[in-house]
């Protein structure tokens, strides 16, 4: 982890793309502008954070902007981690994909499936993703089940006592 001053230095180097820094229990977190996520990750890669160890989503219901995308970066030579968070509004949950290579630098191929999972579970659309479709739920599934306002679902269980047909059959 960068220590707290190190995190502030990192944020300063990122300029206005870094909206906020959080240093909590030894974990350094940068909250960044979702419009510039590709640039931010590129800058961090140039500073040694070359491994994207995880991409995941979060729902900050009922706060706005509601949906979050979290990138965990790892510098494997210094064993140093930094968390990058971006928040997107529910009305327009769009953020640039970091999967593909672009004019602004190389992408992170590992983000491919993880971005698909965030899309599947939270409904965040990744602009420019090579194949953005559901990965866990069936293709014809409606809704994004990990959102906080999504019903938990489940089926009423058919035990003998609450199913008249079976009750009759079991006699």
């Amino acid at each position: 982890m960068p220590d707290a001053p190190g995190l502030e230095l990192l944020a300063k180097e990122l300029g206005e793309a870094a909206l906020e820094t959080v240093y909590f229990r030894g974990r350094a977190t940068l909250i960044v502008d979702p419009q510039r996520i590709r640039w931010v990750l590129g800058e961090l890669r140039a500073r040694g954070y070359r491994f994207l160890s995880s991409v995941h989503g979060v729902d900050h219901y009922p706060d706005e902007p509601r949906l979050g995308v979290i990138y965990e970066l790892l510098d494997m030579s210094r064993v140093d981690r930094v968390t990058v968070k971006a928040r997107v509004p529910l009305g327009e949950p769009v953020i640039d994909s970091v999967t593909h290579d672009g004019s602004d630098g190389p992408g992170w191929p590992t983000a491919n499936h993880q971005e698909r999972e965030v899309y599947d579970m939270f409904g965040v659309t990744f602009r420019g993703h090579p194949e953005l479709r559901r990965i866990l739920m069936p293709e014809d599934y409606e809704g994004h089940p990990q959102r906080r306002d999504f019903p938990v679902g489940g089926e009423p269980v058919h035990f003998t006592y609450n199913d008249p047909a079976r009750r009759a059959a079991s006699r």
Binding site: L136, M137, P138, Y141, P145, F150, P151, V152, G153, G154, E155, V157, H158, F159, A165, R166, A169
Partner: protein, 227 residues
């Protein structure tokens, strides 16, 4: 004191002698049965069967011939040689493997032939949770199995969805007929064994198990091609 001990020893000896006599009696009975069997086996050799007449013949038939219906004989054979499908969904599958392992040894009952193809299997054990994405695939496997076929729902998840009663899962009863539910999370191999033996009992009593009535599937019977 010494005399008493000797007396006890003497009593012991007499008891052993009695046992030995009883054993001799049992031996005698066994000898008699054997000679009877020998006499009967003579029928196929030197003495023609016509030598037995009247009550002798009746007794011979009663001792040697077992009558049953073809249905029952077939059900007996089927129920003692289920071919389960090699199929596991989640953690219950580990317990399912153990049922085939040496401690439970499913082969004792003739169910060890786990088939890799649904077309060769007549028993599907749903060992684990069934997601709504997996359900059509399982239904397809089940449809590919040839009748008569049976299904065991193993564990809480695929019977009642257990701790995963949420958007992602579906209970097995919703999309295919289940004959035996084995409770547990996961059930121990003994429990699965008990379930399979329950199924054996059911099949011996009624090979059809009436699942078409229970699931409203009358008229879906497989018919020969020329019918």
């Amino acid at each position: 004191m010494r005399r008493e001990l000797l007396g006890a020893a003497a009593r012991d000896t007499s008891a052993t002698e009695a046992e030995a006599r009883a054993e001799q009696g049992a031996l005698r009975v066994r000898e008699l049965t054997a000679s009877q069997l020998l006499r009967v086996s003579d029928l196929e050799g030197a003495n023609p069967p016509a030598a037995l007449e009247g009550s002798d013949l009746e007794r011979n038939v009663r001792d040697r011939v077992l009558t049953t219906t073809l249905d029952k004989a077939v059900a007996w054979a089927r129920s003692n040689s289920f071919f389960p499908l090699s199929f596991g969904l989640a953690c219950c599958a580990m317990e399912q493997f153990q049922t085939a392992g040496p401690r439970m040894d499913i082969a004792r009952f003739g169910y060890e032939a786990f088939r890799a193809s649904p077309r060769q299997a007549d028993l599907i054990i749903l060992a684990g949770r069934v997601s709504i994405k997996m359900a059509p695939i399982i239904r397809r496997l089940y449809d590919q199995m040839l009748e008569p076929k049976w299904a065991i729902s193993m564990g809480a998840c695929c019977s009642s969805m257990g701790v995963f009663n949420n958007y992602a899962l579906v209970p097995a009863d919703k999309f295919m007929p289940i004959d035996v539910h084995v409770p547990g999370c996961p059930p121990r191999p003994e429990a699965l064994m008990h379930g399979v033996l329950k199924l054996r009992k059911l099949v011996q009593a009624d090979p059809d198990l009436g699942w078409r009535e229970r699931y409203g599937a009358l008229g879906t019977e497989e018919k020969p091609l020329d019918a």
